[in-house]
Subunit: 461 residues, 2 copies
């Protein structure tokens, strides 16, 4: 039985009624015939392995049916020979392949039997779901799942996708091979005077050359303090740190790696001091990854190490425990320690916090902790990122609301922080598998010790 | 007056009532927070130059207003400092910048005054248009424009965008610089044993390193007979031709270039024979580009040259004129000679054939000619592609319907064509500006003579 058939069998065992998962469709870039590269919806990919546009997976009474769009007569001229029903059945292991036009009547007949679905990310598909399945979802953004049948499907899919099987891990490790090459190449071509765009191009080259695509918008910037910076228009200069958050995707499976390196090839004393704090925080957080560990505690472990480091450097004043409790560390480490990783770089984030947060747990209202994307107890087979950072974000450090109280009582010492002005943003991120006995870092091969990183930077003409 | 203000003034001079152009919004790749790289709608870009998500341009009573989404409180942390209203007014030259939330009431008040709009390519925006402007457009695909006010807006926009101003040409030439580098690099890294993915990566590297993006899905393949082949999973071998259709985009402005080169660095005699026919057809078609020339005649000029060449090689039997009239050449050159080029690689194709076909002209029902995307009389300022090709498409050559009649009467000699089995697809494409006196090839710098091409292939380790 192929892995997709295994996954579908597991899902069918968890369902009470029929379920429908749509594959999605190409999204127009500037007009319909010039679409973005097509990628099927992750739920569909997980259970079929087939990145088919305008297809649907139908699960009912122990059997699976693939509904596919019939090729147009001239498709072969423009797009090459298309797989037929037999080839699709063979590749996916489904019981039957049927034309998409037969789907509406199948759906209509199943409406009274607890039919379930998940909100498509494509708005046209979501509109179709609203019309044919009687949902009431907004066409954009994350739709709230409220019907009992849909909730049950979401919970069943989450239960499966949370814990990765061997085929999934093999794909993620394949993606990481290209990602490792990308980061090594990025370090190698970095030198003062290089444009961010050139370094980004060299890194994505390594992904594309291996048949991978970027799993998300690459971040390659000397302004790492802008957390989701997807512009590449600065020139790297000798005093800068270059932050690269770049991960490849293999057959839909993501990787997600960040490294930060000195453009000159040598960390300054101040850069190295903060870098070592981030590295120590990452080490401590990774060490905390094991079965039954609560991910929020992994996050807080990193926060404590960062707070201690900032106290040691004279930037914060207080005890780490009190600083973290009050959220003072979040002025320099505002985001969460990481997230689930799988088919999506933030795995299953299309389902909102239902995947990331265990039942009964919700986002903290505290600044910083509230950005934590995952608060579950870890289990073997889960893959998470561990990605602490230290940033000087002007909007944050100058915020009367957020920084004001800590400035007023002397907890945050901006005059001391000013000595570290050659650090705008540092992040170190690896992908970590929770194993039966602890954890395994999937991205071991990518240098992060300061001396290792320095040895790579500028090593290529 | 900046160029965007000039373009808006020209449009306002053509309009009777208020007009609304939406910018679009990021499209989810696998979940909303992981979107494809954002690119504003071309009509919006043309009149504002600003690739703003969730924005709208409002033109009314001689004035232009930009409606923009207000940044969320934590946008600066995740996305960096955002331009304020003053900066946007300065960059775009609009009269006023207002919050997007004010737009619905402005629209509602203008409904009785002949309000016009164009179908957005984003389905969420199109849904919004249907609701707020009373349109009835499908959420996917190309929407038919039927309201008088919308038709007037479409015709006005087309009249402007057909003939490029200096700023537009400068952008397209900028894009072409990177595109030329990409093709030179693609040739240089090609050798037997290279994967298509590696050659594609090397080519797109040159685009990204210059801050360009691919204007469309790059075609880099040894199976050039699949016209829109966006897979890269073959290994190039010594006997193959590599067809690369790759173009960069600069600030939204496209380029579109195809070259075909021998993987070994030397054309075989049969490859060279067909390559020379394509090159001659391109030469003859480019020579026909001048003011008042009908583009369909440019196409037919290329068809005649190809037909003559195929007769000379013994592949077709007959006179070129008769062969082209019957469509025999289309068995090997099935597509059109080219299309409009501008902000879109098929410029304004979101408006259907309204942009490409002059009033009163429609697509031919004949196979081949029916794929011609442009049938206007050329005017100075238009940029078109000229891209003849010769392909052996099995589905076409074995089609009883399309090839059958020509096989039956001996017009197509498959036994002779078999001698050319090392040619699957050849295309040569350049971007050509119609000038006051004739034409200017914008992409002169990219080698296409056989000896020039051969000198480049494999020149880089």
């Amino acid at each position: 039985m192929n892995v997709f058939a295994q996954r579908r069998a597991a899902l069918l065992g968890l369902l009470q009624g029929p379920a429908l998962l749509l594959a999605g469709r190409p999204r127009a870039r500037n007009y319909p015939a010039n679409p973005y590269p097509y990628r099927a919806e992750s739920h569909f990919l997980y259970f079929t392995g087939a990145s088919l546009p305008r297809a649907a997976l139908w699960l009912d009474a122990g059997a699976s049916t693939l509904f596919v769009d019939l090729p147009a007569p001239d498709d072969e001229l423009w797009h090459g020979p298309q797989p037929g029903a037999d080839a699709l059945r063979e590749a996916t292991g489904v019981d039957e392949v049927r034309p998409l036009e037969a789907l509406p009547s199948v759906v209509a007949q199943a409406l009274g039997r607890g039919l379930s679905t998940l909100p498509a990310n494509d708005p046209v598909d979501r509109h179709w779901q609203n019309q044919h399945l009687g949902r009431d979802w907004p066409l954009a953004g994350t739709a709230a799942i409220t019907r009992d049948s849909d909730v049950a499907l979401a919970e069943a899919v989450i239960a499966l996708r949370l814990k990765h099987d061997g085929a999934a891990l093999a794909m993620m490790e394949h993606a990481l091979e290209g990602t490792a090459a990308a980061h090594l190449r990025g370090m190698a071509v970095t030198r003062p005077g290089r444009h961010e765009a050139e370094i980004r191009a060299a890194m994505e080259h390594e992904l594309l050359a291996r048949g991978l695509s970027p799993a998300y918008g690459s971040i390659v910037t000397v302004h790492g303090e802008v957390l989701h910076n997807v512009h590449y228009d600065h020139v790297a200069t000798a005093g800068d740190l270059l932050l690269a958050d770049v991960g490849g995707e293999a057959h839909g499976w993501a990787s997600d790696i960040t490294r930060t390196w000195p453009v000159s090839g040598r960390f300054s004393a101040t850069q190295r001091a903060l870098y070592e704090i981030v590295l120590a925080a990452q080490h401590d957080a990774i060490a905390a990854v094991r079965p039954h560990a609560r991910y929020r505690d992994v996050h807080l472990r990193a926060c404590l190490t960062i707070a201690q480091g900032l106290v040691d450097e004279g930037i914060l004043v207080g005890t780490p425990e009190t600083l973290v409790e009050r959220g003072a560390h979040a002025l320099l480490f505002p985001h969460g320690i990481g997230h689930l990783l799988g088919l999506d770089v933030h795995d299953m984030e299309d389902l909102g916090d239902r995947a990331g947060y265990a039942p009964g747990r919700t986002r903290s209202p505290q600044f910083g902790l509230g950005y934590l994307r995952l608060d579950r107890d870890l289990e073997p087979g889960m893959v998470v990122t561990i990605e602490p950072g230290i940033y000087q974000v002007p909007a944050l450090l100058q915020s009367p609301e957020l920084a004001g109280p800590f400035l007023a009582d002397g907890t945050l010492r901006l005059e001391r922080l000013a000595a570290f002005s050659d650090v705008r943003g540092i992040r170190i991120e690896d992908d970590v598998l929770c194993t039966d006995t602890g954890h395994r870092v999937l991205s071991r091969a990518i240098p992060k010790l300061p001396a290792e990183v320095e040895a790579q930077v500028g090593s290529q003409p």
